[in-house]
């Protein structure tokens, strides 16, 4: 069940950049940008997220055990988060209705408890569904899932597994092909390769995957640092936190930051060139890329952990940026 060493991705050796026509890349990039813009807009109305280190780690390790692609594990996390948010919304709705009608006012608590009890089942269903969106020959079958659950002491039937999948599907209106930041990273790497980036895309890609793993795992701490850096204040208000959800959904921003951080790790001398390219391609401000990359890098080397929060000094960020601006003018 546990593997001491993380297996290398089989897909990495097959990964190839520069094999797609430029027109296709262009169309795909523009499509991603539109999709991202829509996602950022939609995120404005969202009030919460469901992403925690333990849960993401569980999904990642399960995907690893089942030899699934990285993209599948990211997609599973996305599906699970949206499903849980939907469930929480439903519980809140039920609670409101029951309070208003004064009928069985405690029922929503039972729903919550039920959600707790079924969480592992839902989690594996999300991974299973994500696997079905990927390669057909890597679909995780029911027996595999049931064996895994049984080994953990969860006894379920195939019917329940099916019910669970259906619940997830229906909660999300069968829209489970959710975007992940990996698509943005790979697309931008492809463009960088065409644009003559000095660091090979394949080299960047491997580090990008590791960094993206880390951002998924430390999602809240990384974005918390970014928020604090952006407001130069260590105590963001609730409203600011809510507004910042749209930033969390900005996969294009995340992708450029990941690639920039990867370039810094791989080849510091070429880092500026890579950031320049990213800036030119996406139009995202240089300082935003730098700030986000810095937040990712500081978490990457272990300056911050989920347990011991040691925020990036925002004044340092701001001061550095101001100094840089002054040197520009």
């Amino acid at each position: 069940m546990d593997r001491p060493v993380r297996p290398s991705l089989a897909s990495l050796s097959d990964f190839q950049f520069g094999a797609v026509t430029t027109e296709t890349i262009e169309d795909a990039l523009l499509h991603l940008a539109q999709q991202n813009e829509q996602a950022v807009r939609d995120a404005a109305g969202r009030l919460g997220s469901f992403r925690e280190t333990r849960i993401v780690e569980f999904v990642f390790l399960l995907s690893e055990q089942w030899c699934l692609e990285k993209s599948v594990s990211y997609q599973a996390v996305e599906i699970l988060e949206r499903f849980m948010v939907k469930q929480a919304e439903n519980i809140c709705r039920q609670a409101t209705i029951q309070l208003r009608d004064k009928t069985e006012p405690q029922n929503w608590r039972a729903l919550k408890e039920q959600l707790f009890n079924k969480f592992i089942l839902r989690l594996v269903s999300c991974v299973q569904l994500a696997s079905k969106l990927s390669f057909h020959y890597k679909i995780i079958g029911n027996v595999t899932v049931l064996n895994f659950l049984q080994a953990l002491g969860y006894l379920h039937t195939k019917e329940e597994l099916l019910e669970s999948e259906l619940d997830v599907l229906k909660s999300l209106n069968f829209q489970i092909n959710l975007p992940t930041p990996l698509a943005y990273v790979e697309m931008l790497l492809e463009v960088l390769g065409y644009n003559g980036c000095l660091v090979p895309a394949t080299q960047l890609h491997a580090t990008c995957l590791t960094l993206l793993d880390l951002v998924y795992l430390l999602h809240e701490p990384v974005y918390e640092n970014l928020l604090r850096a952006s407001i130069e204040n260590s105590t963001p208000s609730q409203l600011q936190g809510e507004k910042f959800i749209s930033v969390k959904e900005d996969f294009m921003l995340l992708a450029v930051a990941i690639i920039a951080a990867s370039a810094f790790i791989q080849n510091h001398e070429c880092w500026s060139q890579v950031v320049g390219h990213l800036h030119s391609i996406t139009g995202i401000a240089l300082e935003s890329i730098a700030e986000f990359s810095y937040a990712i890098l500081t978490h990457s080397v272990g300056a911050n952990t989920p347990g011991q929060q040691k925020p990036v000094p925002p004044h340092l960020v701001a001061r550095t940026l101001r100094a840089a601006a002054a040197s520009n003018s």
Partner: protein, 357 residues
């Protein structure tokens, strides 16, 4: 020697026919047992003994998805349909809590899967009404964010992967790469220091810059990224200056330069990639500019080219209150795309607004 040999043959026929009659078809057997018109049968023990409560109208619902949802390895039209209530697929608003804890089943799954069912069912049945975590106040309404946080904190994950710590493993991998590439962990603040001064200082005509700059960025008719920028610039400029509107329609459909071919020399007169910094800010940029309203506007790369009277550094213009009211859903500092298109472009504008990038 066997006198009955030839003579007995005629008598075998009735026996055979009798045997055939005894060997009823599965349909007949099933009909006899169930007494219903269930269309499909299987070799497993009779279903009638296992799912008597299945209503006739339930099996009508199965027709569409017979067997597909539960028995992929037995083919599409195997009768072993576990999704009798597949009608829920078609019904709306069937979120999990609405779904009954005990799903209706046409037949229990065979073999070992049958055994754990009662336990898991009983586990679901055990859900005590009103026994959720937290104070049992009926008037306490959970907020969504609060509820999600509560769920995250209270969830107990099984120890499925002992001795694994992905965060640490990932960090080790990154630090290992850093050490392999640099010999040590470099000063990370270089990221913040190095970014600003170099890039904007690079001249468009700089040979190094020219080498590094993709042709699709320098050439407005070949660059989708630049094309988007130009379109956006055109969009915004039209609001204020309309200066570059003539270049906008030329990029209705752009194509990339040949990737592997010789670099097209960039046109020095065209804006350098640094001009893309004038482009619309991301949500992150906007929030920063709003929240840092009391501080000097965030540093921007040096402006090369025509002045951009965009709402790019909007912070000094916005009051704190209005700034906090900003929402990505309704930013609306920009004119509508249709208006801009009507004002600027003689061609049909099919490109959607690319406000963020």
């Amino acid at each position: 020697m066997d006198p009955r040999g030839p003579a007995s043959r005629p008598f075998q026929r009735p026996e055979k026919t009798g045997r055939v009659r005894r060997r009823k078809t599965r349909r007949e057997r099933n009909e006899a047992l169930v007494g219903s018109r269930r269309p499909l049968v299987r070799r497993d023990p009779p279903l009638a003994s296992r799912d008597p409560p299945v209503a006739p109208n339930a099996h009508k619902l199965v027709v569409i998805t017979q067997g597909r949802l539960s028995r992929e390895h037995r083919g599409l039209f195997n009768h072993e349909v576990k999704s009798l209530d597949v009608a829920r697929l078609l019904s709306s608003g069937s979120l999990e809590p609405v779904t009954p804890a005990l799903p209706i089943k046409s037949s229990p799954s065979p073999g070992r899967a049958q055994e754990p069912a009662p336990q898991s069912r009983s586990k679901e049945k055990q859900v005590p009404v009103g026994s959720g975590p937290g104070p049992p106040s009926p008037l306490e309404l959970p907020g969504l964010g609060q509820l999600l946080k509560e769920l995250q904190c209270q969830l107990i994950l099984p120890q499925a992967f002992p001795r694994r710590n992905l965060v640490q493993e990932t960090r080790d991998a990154i630090v290992g790469t850093l050490q392999a590439c640099h010999g040590c962990v470099p000063d990370l603040t270089l990221v913040l220091r190095d970014c600003q001064p170099r890039l904007p200082g690079t001249k468009p005509g700089d040979p190094e810059r020219r080498r590094m700059t993709p042709s699709w960025i320098n050439n407005p008719e070949q660059a989708p990224g630049e094309g988007r920028q130009k379109r956006r610039q055109g969009t915004k400029e039209l609001t204020f200056t309309m200066s570059n509107s003539s270049s906008t329609p030329a990029i209705h459909r752009v194509s990339l330069a040949p990737p592997k071919g010789p670099w097209t020399p960039p046109l020095p007169s065209l804006p350098s990639p640094s001009a893309a910094a004038w482009g619309p800010p991301t949500a992150f940029d906007l929030l920063k500019s709003i929240w840092l309203v009391a501080t000097p506007s965030p540093p921007r790369p040096r402006v090369v080219g025509p002045p951009q009277p965009l709402p790019q550094p909007p912070s000094p213009l916005l009051s704190q209150t209005s700034a906090l009211d900003w929402s990505p859903a309704s930013p609306a500092p920009l004119p509508s795309l249709s208006w801009v298109v009507a004002q600027s472009s003689p061609e049909a504008w099919s490109f959607p607004p690319m406000r963020l990038y």
